[in-house]
């Protein structure tokens, strides 16, 4: 679950999840759907994504930077994300998708990077929420 947030120059999103792993999955889905239209992406292959950080905040920024690298550097269109392991400093996840094809996967925005600007991760009992701003 996510929604897009306004920023004077760029774009952000608010994502939610029932647990921290789910929060990381929905944040990745938010980023991917800002970059391209995921509707026509086939879950043809799966890749392993990893990230490290010294806090939930840096782990989230580094995780989203990993997702962005696969989208922009490896030209991999993502359909879904599943966090396989998560502790306080490491994250291992699986992403399903296929090679980006401009005919089928409409590019929405080129995201340059994930920022720490007004970054938030909050736990409201059974619900986790994060807010992330992207440089576009």
């Amino acid at each position: 679950m996510f929604e897009v947030l306004e920023h004077p120059a760029d774009v952000g999103f608010r994502a939610t999840g029932a647990s921290l792993p789910e929060l990381f999955e929905s944040a990745a889905e938010a980023l991917a759907s800002i970059v391209l239209d995921p509707q026509n992406v086939r879950p043809a292959t799966s890749v392993v994504l990893t990230a490290q950080g010294d806090s939930n905040e840096s782990l989230l920024v580094n995780w989203l930077s990993e997702v962005l690298y696969w989208l922009d550097g490896e030209r991999f269109a993502t359909r879904s994300f599943k966090v396989r392991a998560l502790d306080s400093v490491h994250l291992i996840a699986e992403a399903k998708g296929e090679r980006r094809d401009r005919a089928r996967h409409e590019t929405r925005l080129v995201v340059k990077g994930i920022t720490y600007h007004q970054l938030k991760i909050e736990n409201h009992g059974d619900r986790w929420v994060c807010e992330v701003y992207l440089d576009v």
Binding site: V11, T107, D135
Partner: protein, 480 residues
């Protein structure tokens, strides 16, 4: 919001936030603005961000805000800060994700009258030959060793490969290359992201515009820059693409850790910084220079393909000469006079353009008496400006001025209640043809989303930081 900050007017175009207002400020903030612009500026967090910059260890002189300032990440966009070369810090956020985002202007031998009837063909040709790159590969793909050469040598590496003319190099800031760039400091990921993107514009606020010289404001300078009324020029606004973005990402991640080692605490994690002379600081600068060189090579490749497109439409004798190329996201090692002493500083220009005045030894011979050309793109469909560096820039702003109009509306607000086809047809009624690779590219960059560029230019002109040479109007716009 910055509305709570106390702003003391210094004169009509200068405002000060004294260092006493926030704990941790090591220096004042000086804002260049007008009474009208300052009210818009105070509505976002940009002045708070300029205050945070004033807290960086080793800052020399004030934290500076240009009239196009708007909220960024860590540093404000339109911010300038000089850090002592030996005692100060370097902050990747003070350069930004798009290292050496900049502007290149080519003057052509085509006149407005010649261009009008062929404008649609020209815009279509340029759109075909110079992709925005949102869908993938660009027109130049490099092997690993070739890419390393680009990272070391910048624009010259492209000219050697046949993408340009030898004289292009002379008319670029730093001759299109920062020395002491180290490709080994650039990660394989950054190289993978950038390898296929040479010769592409990118998206966001990046664009390529076919324009004409609407008005000359300084005849002597215009003559030196070889431009005249109703001449067709082309303005290219883009940077180091995915390669630069990844360099920033990589070093921001490293610096979070390194800051603890150096005992640096900052008000905003996006301002992460390390001492310039530390191994981490030197590594970042070597990688940043490499990314800057990639950006110059990118704009050089674009100029090459632009020449091809113009010659296909207007004939093989058509000339496109590089007038100048400036970067506006960069950190540069420079010498400046501060309180009567010459200091070595690292000038962070985050959305700010170098503007060296007449007589500066780094200017090409042809522009030595004019001052450095400063290229300021406006919003889509309005106007852009050619300025030249003024005397006050060296005295007050470490040789820097504004870089654009400055954003006013968020992307979401810009899109609200509008559709791309209507915006396109409104622009066409004004004689402006727009092509975009993405549906939202046009909507997010509508003229109403930006401040009035003429107002911004008036401030820097009247403050003596740069002076007006010519106003340019768009005819064809290509956007990501």
């Amino acid at each position: 919001m910055s509305e709570r900050l106390e702003l003391q007017p210094i004169d009509e175009f200068r405002f000060r936030i004294p260092r006493s207002v926030e704990r941790g400020m090591r220096t004042d903030v000086v804002v260049y603005s007008s009474r009208k612009l300052i009210e818009q500026i105070r509505k976002d967090q940009s002045l708070d961000q300029a205050v945070n910059v004033a807290a960086l260890p080793g800052i020399v002189g004030p934290s500076l805000a240009m009239p196009d300032i708007h909220q960024g990440y860590g540093f404000p966009i339109g911010g300038v800060a000089a850090l002592d070369w030996r005692q100060g810090v370097v902050s990747p956020g003070g350069v930004g994700f798009d290292i050496n985002c900049g502007v290149r202007l080519a003057r052509t031998s085509v006149s407005l009258d010649e261009a009008r009837p062929k404008l649609r063909d020209l815009v279509n040709q340029v759109f075909r030959d110079i992709p925005c790159g949102t869908g993938g590969e660009g027109p130049v793909t490099l092997e690993k060793d070739e890419l390393n050469r680009v990272l070391t040598d910048g624009a010259a590496s492209m000219v050697e490969r046949g993408y340009g003319e030898p004289r292009d190099i002379e008319f670029s800031e730093e001759r299109g290359c920062l020395v002491n760039a180290d490709p080994e400091k650039v990660s394989d990921r950054a190289k993978t992201r950038g390898r296929c993107q040479l010769g592409t514009i990118g998206s966001g606020n990046h664009f390529l515009e076919v324009q004409y010289v609407e008005q000359i404001h300084d005849t002597r300078a215009a003559r030196a820059l070889n431009i005249e009324k109703n001449q067709i020029v082309v303005l290219v606004h883009c940077g180091s693409r995915g390669l630069g973005h990844q360099v920033c990402t990589d070093y921001l991640a490293q610096m979070g850790e390194a800051m603890k080692k150096y005992g640096i605490s900052i008000p905003d994690r996006q301002l992460a910084c390390v001492p310039i002379q530390s191994p981490e600081g030197q590594s970042y600068l070597a990688a940043m220079r490499a990314a800057a060189n990639f950006a110059w090579a990118n704009r050089q490749a674009i100029l090459h393909f632009l020449r091809g497109a113009f010659r296909r439409i207007f004939g093989s004798e058509t000339k496109l000469d590089l007038m100048y190329d400036v970067c506006h996201n960069i950190a540069k090692h420079e010498r400046h006079e501060v309180d009567g002493a010459t200091l070595e500083v690292l000038v962070h220009r985050k959305g700010a353009t170098r503007a060296f005045p007449a007589g500066h030894p780094e200017l090409p011979e042809a522009y030595r008496e004019t001052g450095q050309p400063v290229l300021v793109p406006g919003s889509m469909g309005t106007a852009s400006w050619i300025l030249a560096g003024g005397e006050q820039s060296m005295r007050e702003t470490f040789g820097s001025v504004c870089h654009g109009a400055g954003r006013l509306l968020s992307r979401t607000a810009a899109k609200k209640g509008r559709n791309a086809a209507e915006v396109k047809s409104q622009l066409e009624k004004q004689g402006i043809i727009v092509r975009s690779e993405t549906r939202d590219g046009i909507l997010e960059e509508i003229p109403e989303a930006y401040k009035d560029v003429d107002e911004v230019i008036d401030v820097v002109h009247r403050a003596g930081l740069a002076y007006k040479v010519a106003r340019l109007r768009p005819l064809g716009v290509i956007k990501g």
